[in-house]
């Protein structure tokens, strides 16, 4: 959990229910995709992630939870297992849970073989400011954190990232065709 999230978690634990909004904002997409990876059903994944977050919100003693992030995933996994058990046969469940090879071998990731070329494309086509934004994004910082570090408006960061993303995708597609 990042320092920023820990701050909001501590506020929530001390009774500030509004701090839960930041926790929700961060974990709702992550948990939804996590459940979607297991359940392969969007409505079920959304329901599961909602159920996990409602449990957090209604937790009478959140201070008892030593590792909140780990607890969220444990809860989500258990809910998904229950759902799968209801929906599928044993073989399908084992197939879902036992995959050792994650889907990192998808078309976009084949570009790792050309990663140095991508690196060059990034360095040649982004200006200094864009490079900083993109690097911080790649290192895992969210828009607010990037905004604080670079002293640029948060909405500007979001817009710039979107522009950079679209430009890089076009360049990568051109590279693949050539």
């Amino acid at each position: 959990m990042s320092d920023e999230l820990k701050k909001y978690w501590n506020l929530f634990v001390s009774g500030d229910k509004s701090a839960f909004g930041k926790i929700y904002e961060h974990y709702k997409p992550i948990l939804t995709f996590y459940c979607l990876g297991l359940l392969k059903s969007m409505p079920n994944a959304e329901n599961c992630s909602s159920e996990v977050l409602i449990k957090v919100y209604n937790q009478a003693r959140p201070e008892e939870i030593k590792n909140p992030e780990s607890w969220l995933f444990t809860l989500a996994k258990n809910l998904c297992i229950s759902q799968l058990r209801q929906m599928k046969s044993r073989d399908n469940i084992l197939h879902e849970l036992n995959r050792n090879q994650s889907k990192t071998e998808i078309p976009g990731v084949e570009l790792q073989q050309n990663a140095e070329v991508i690196n060059r494309l990034i360095e040649e086509n982004l200006n200094e400011s864009e490079l900083k934004i993109w690097k911080l994004h790649a290192e895992g910082f969210n828009n607010k954190e990037i905004s604080d570090k670079l002293d640029i408006n948060e909405k500007t960061i979001a817009n710039r990232k979107s522009e950079i993303r679209n430009r890089l995708r076009k360049l990568v597609k051109q590279h693949l065709r050539s």
Binding site: P29, N58, I106, V109
Partner: protein, 249 residues
């Protein structure tokens, strides 16, 4: 220099999957995915949206934003009252919405304090049986199924072990746990009871889970009696037992 958050955001993972990150971070994220079951599932979820639901990248980013904004009731209410002259009305309406949402959540989703505590305790899964027992291949399967959350199948393997050794208290203990995690609480109580009254090294651990099982069946007198024994003996989970007993009326 830069501190890294633990789980990459879905937005970042999407960029990783599209191959538009720099070399260093591409390798870093790939390594993190390989080492994390959670990240593997998150990536699978994104790929599911791309390949089976046929979302393009813009749609995925919009979907992420939609998920994130689910908690923003105050902003929704503000949009319904465009005239800024009536700011007092906006504020009053916002407060009314927040208070109403709080009451609705409390009424629809309210669970007893004790039930919340029990759920938290049961969400921390007890460690799987040690694999030095692999002289008997059934324990290897128990270990595998238990770790995968397949408590039903783990219980089947444990029952086979019991057939060849009816006095195996470790098998009884793990049978109790499997039935407890699988919401077959009455069967869980049967096995945990047997271990808790034995001389097995797991008897104190069994007492704790037995108390949780009795609470799940709303048998508070039995639960309270066992929790008191756990506290008096200062045995496994005695601090949690103390907190739990304070929640009784």
């Amino acid at each position: 220099m830069n501190k890294k958050p633990k789980i990459p955001s879905p937005e970042l993972l999407l960029d990783y999957l599209d191959g538009i990150l720099d070399l260093e971070n591409t390798h870093r994220i790939r390594k993190e995915i390989e080492e994390s079951e959670e990240l593997k599932s998150i990536v699978d979820g994104i790929v599911h949206l791309k390949e089976l639901e046929e979302y393009d990248n813009e749609q995925i980013l919009e979907y992420i934003q939609k998920l994130q904004s689910g908690f923003k009731e105050e902003k929704t209410i503000s949009k319904l009252i465009p005239n800024t002259k009536f700011i007092w009305l906006k504020i009053a309406a916002s407060l009314l919405l927040v208070v109403t949402a709080w009451f609705v959540l409390q009424n629809i989703f309210s669970t007893t304090t004790m039930s919340d505590f029990v759920d938290v305790q049961l969400s921390e899964i007890y460690p799987a049986p040690e694999l030095f027992r692999d002289k008997n291949s059934d324990w290897t399967l128990v270990h595998k199924y238990y770790n995968e959350g397949e408590y039903n199948f783990a219980a089947t393997e444990l029952s086979k072990i019991k057939t060849s050794d009816p006095d195996d208290k470790a098998a009884d203990f793990y049978l109790g746990l499997c039935y407890l995690y699988d919401n077959k609480t009455d069967r869980a109580i049967e096995y945990l009871q047997s271990v808790s009254t034995s001389t097995s090294r797991l008897s104190n651990n069994a007492k704790w889970f037995l108390s949780l099982a009795y609470l799940k069946t709303r048998n508070e007198p039995m639960a309270k009696s066992i929790l008191t024994a756990v506290i008096d003996a200062k045995s496994y989970k005695h601090e949690e037992a103390q907190k739990l007993i304070e929640l009784f009326d």
